[in-house]
């Protein structure tokens, strides 16, 4: 009877046993969620049968019979719903990738301007950030859309902010490069120059470690990347680079044109996201301690070296994670295109729903696609983050 050692755990009632409770709790949670799903799905099946809508993805093969403009792939209303959705996805990707590039550039400018020693520059930047961040994005999109549609002049009297760039109520027209086989060779020359610059940099690093003397590897490298393609360009007879738009009586010919919807959406997304990125950049730079700058200056680094070698590498670590979520926000916000009738993935999807009634199928496609975009973006940014993150022991 008394073989059991003193102090050994006694038997616990099952409802007081931690493992038991955890298992029961989890089973209950899963069962609850599962039951909810079964209930909702059951209702949906009933309702769809009553409305005579056949479930399944067969409708994707049917003719879409609505026009999409602009598209990156050839598309006509005679094409299938599947092709319409792909055209929409490509438009989303186009807006999102252009938006990310421009918003990053403008955002860095705004963030650095906020920290400027010039009172006027920092105040203007602050006003920009406050106004943009405290008003809804959709409202800004509508405003820019109306400015282009209703406020901008006819093509004949178009605004010309830069030479050969026209803004009118038909959208924005700008010069487009014309493809020439020589460009491929210029690309090859630039790649070779890039490899040479990379090797030069390694050599310069090794030399500096050995002798302490520095080579102007940055400038030489830049020259190696830029000069060969320029040389190839002139050696090839300098073919005319750009297709310049010309004003005809009611419209433009030549050049690359974008619709008012696309221009308004891209402009609003860039202006909006740049305000948020500006604050992230500012926070990142401020997060680098004063002592770092003082130590670098005490070592005799110049202002430029201080920024490039000490401040930026540390600021980047703070900047990258929140920047990832801004990029994701921009991609998701591009779905507001539906408000102004630009055919991004979501607008195409909702048009398909209106025509076919295949709500569940289309929404599943949309949700799966946006989730994939999110996952891919955060994966890429995580890789970059890992490359720049602090390595500790």
């Amino acid at each position: 009877m008394t073989t059991r050692a003193e102090g050994a755990p006694g038997r616990v009632a099952p409802w007081n046993d931690e493992r038991m409770r955890s298992v029961v709790f989890q089973l209950a949670a899963v069962a609850l969620v599962f039951a909810l799903f079964v209930y909702l799905a059951g209702n949906a099946v009933d309702n769809l049968r009553r409305q005579g809508i056949a479930a399944g993805f067969g409708f994707l093969e049917r003719e879409a019979s609505f026009a999409i403009s602009p598209t990156l792939i050839p598309y006509s209303p005679a094409d299938s719903y599947a092709r319409a959705l792909s055209a929409g996805l490509l438009n989303t990707l186009l807006v999102a990738s252009l938006g990310i590039v421009f918003a990053t550039l403008l955002g860095f400018l705004v963030g650095i301007a906020r920290l400027s020693g010039n009172w006027l520059v920092s105040r203007l930047s602050l006003a920009y950030v406050e106004i943009i961040r405290n008003t809804p994005l959709l409202l800004q999109i509508y405003l820019w859309w109306d400015v282009l549609r209703l406020g901008a002049p006819q093509p004949g009297a178009a605004w010309q902010p830069l030479p050969h760039v026209f803004i009118s109520n038909r959208g924005v027209v700008f010069p487009a490069p014309v493809y020439d086989p020589l460009y491929l060779w210029m690309l090859v020359a630039a790649a070779i120059g890039g490899i040479a610059a990379f090797m030069l940099r390694r050599q310069a690093r090794a030399r500096q470690a050995r002798t302490g003397r520095m080579l102007p590897a940055g400038w030489l490298g830049l020259a190696l990347v830029v000069l060969p393609p320029v040389a190839v360009f002139f050696a090839g007879g300098a073919p005319y680079l750009l297709d310049l738009p010309r004003v005809t009586r009611f419209d433009f010919s030549g050049g690359q044109s974008i619709t008012p919807e696309f221009a308004a959406l891209l402009f609003a997304l860039v202006a909006y996201t740049a305000a948020f990125i500006g604050e992230i950049v500012r926070g990142g730079i401020l997060a680098v301690g004063r002592g770092q700058s003082e130590a670098a200056l005490a070592l005799g680094l110049t202002r430029g070296q201080l920024l490039r070698l000490v401040v930026l590498p540390q600021a980047i670590r703070v900047i990258v994670p929140p920047m990832t979520s801004e990029y994701l926000n921009l991609t998701k916000n591009s779905s507001l295109a539906v408000g102004i009738g630009f055919f991004d993935l979501f607008s195409v999807g909702s048009t398909v729903v209106n025509q076919t009634g295949q709500v569940i199928e289309v929404m599943s496609i949309l949700i799966a696609t946006y989730l994939t975009l999110s996952l891919v973006t955060s994966l890429l940014m995580n890789l970059y983050n890992r490359a720049t993150a602090l390595v500790e022991r």
Partner: protein, 350 residues
């Protein structure tokens, strides 16, 4: 000596270095060129009364006459005209609630109590049906009160769910953790407009026949579920910032899981994340405009509807600036609150 002060200030802040001098001169030139035109447009040449936008254009300035003509529709939408004093009081109630929240010395319990009382009063005023006020259906709750009710309701209903899923994501139980992660990541990975679309167009499919939920509450559900996912991530950040010792100390006092969380961990985690929470609220407040795409008459859809009036089609800038100013006042107030709190918190922590 005193006369030299502005000059010294300008040298230190505007002309410190060649680059800054050039920038100052360039921006100063732009301001001198643009400012008179802007003042002309907004004030001097603006029309406060005009029959239509062409008359304003002839005067050469802003068309505030559009706002004067339509401001009750912009603020209250299709709410019955004679009863619009009720939504006006609701707006005043919300402003009073926000101002009361500014005072941080008010204990949290009291704050929650006055918010609940304020919301109940707002609901009573909007619905009516008692005290001689005619009943008004939710379909007609338009304009600014709709925005305020959606935002407050979304936050109010989303908050408990956010706490549960944030705790769930940090739970030691794999099934609970997985469910929380799936919910948070799926909700955040898809644009809000898709969730609104789902709740307004797809949700009726999932309900048994005969059961209908008014549009307003369907939008509110989507809104609460969406905000909860973002708030959950904010709260999780706070939970992660609480040192392990706090959990262990609470456990060694013999507190069970829920009491550990309620008495020790959550009060600290929530307090340090208030600024981030307020930023989420600001985002949510701005996101209420998305319901205009689904056809709920918030101030933005009111504006678009009013602009369809052929007499005022060209007054779009004035209309959007007016509505933007309304959003700006609320959002800027919240961001001031969050910034002030951030400062006090960082001082307390030091």
């Amino acid at each position: 000596m005193i006369a030299a002060a502005p000059w010294r200030w300008a040298r230190a802040n505007l002309f410190n270095g060649p680059l800054n001098a050039v920038l100052t001169l360039f921006l100063g030139y732009l301001i001198v060129v643009l400012l008179p035109g802007l003042v002309d447009w907004t004030l001097i040449k603006a029309s406060l009364t005009a029959p239509d936008d062409r008359a304003c254009a002839a005067a050469g300035g802003a068309c505030w006459a559009f706002i004067a003509d339509w401001f009750r529709f912009l603020l209250f939408g299709r709410y019955p005209y004679a009863e619009q004093w009720r939504p006006a009081i609701v707006i005043a109630v919300f402003i009073a609630l926000l101002l009361a929240s500014w005072n941080r010395r008010l204990p949290g319990g009291w704050l929650a109590a006055i918010w609940i009382a304020g919301l109940a009063l707002s609901g009573l005023l909007m619905w009516g049906g008692v005290l001689g006020m005619p009943y008004v259906e939710t379909e007609l709750w338009n304009g600014v009160p709709l925005t305020l009710i959606l935002a407050a309701g979304g936050i109010g209903f989303g908050y408990p769910l956010a706490l549960l899923t944030a705790l769930g994501r940090r739970s030691s139980m794999p099934a609970v953790r997985t469910l929380s992660v799936i919910y948070i990541e799926v909700a955040r990975g898809v644009p809000f407009i898709a969730w609104l679309f789902l709740s307004l167009i797809v949700l009726p499919l999932f309900l048994p026949p005969g059961v209908t939920v008014p549009k307003l509450w369907r939008a509110e559900i989507a809104f609460a579920l969406f905000i909860a996912a973002y708030l959950a991530e904010v709260v999780r950040g706070g939970l992660q910032a609480i040192p392990r010792g706090q959990y262990e100390a609470a456990a060694s006092l013999g507190l069970g899981y829920w009491r550990q969380m309620r008495l020790v961990v959550l009060p600290q985690a929530l307090a340090i994340t208030i600024p981030a929470q307020v930023n989420t609220f600001i985002g949510a407040f701005k996101d209420t405009t998305l319901i205009s795409i689904i056809g709920l008459f918030d101030p933005l859809l009111d504006t678009n509807t009013a602009l369809n009036d052929p007499a005022w089609r060209m007054a779009y800038a004035e209309g959007y600036i007016f509505v933007a100013a309304i959003y700006f006042v609320f959002c800027y107030f919240m961001s001031l609150y969050s910034r002030r709190l951030e400062k006090t918190l960082s001082r307390e922590r030091r």
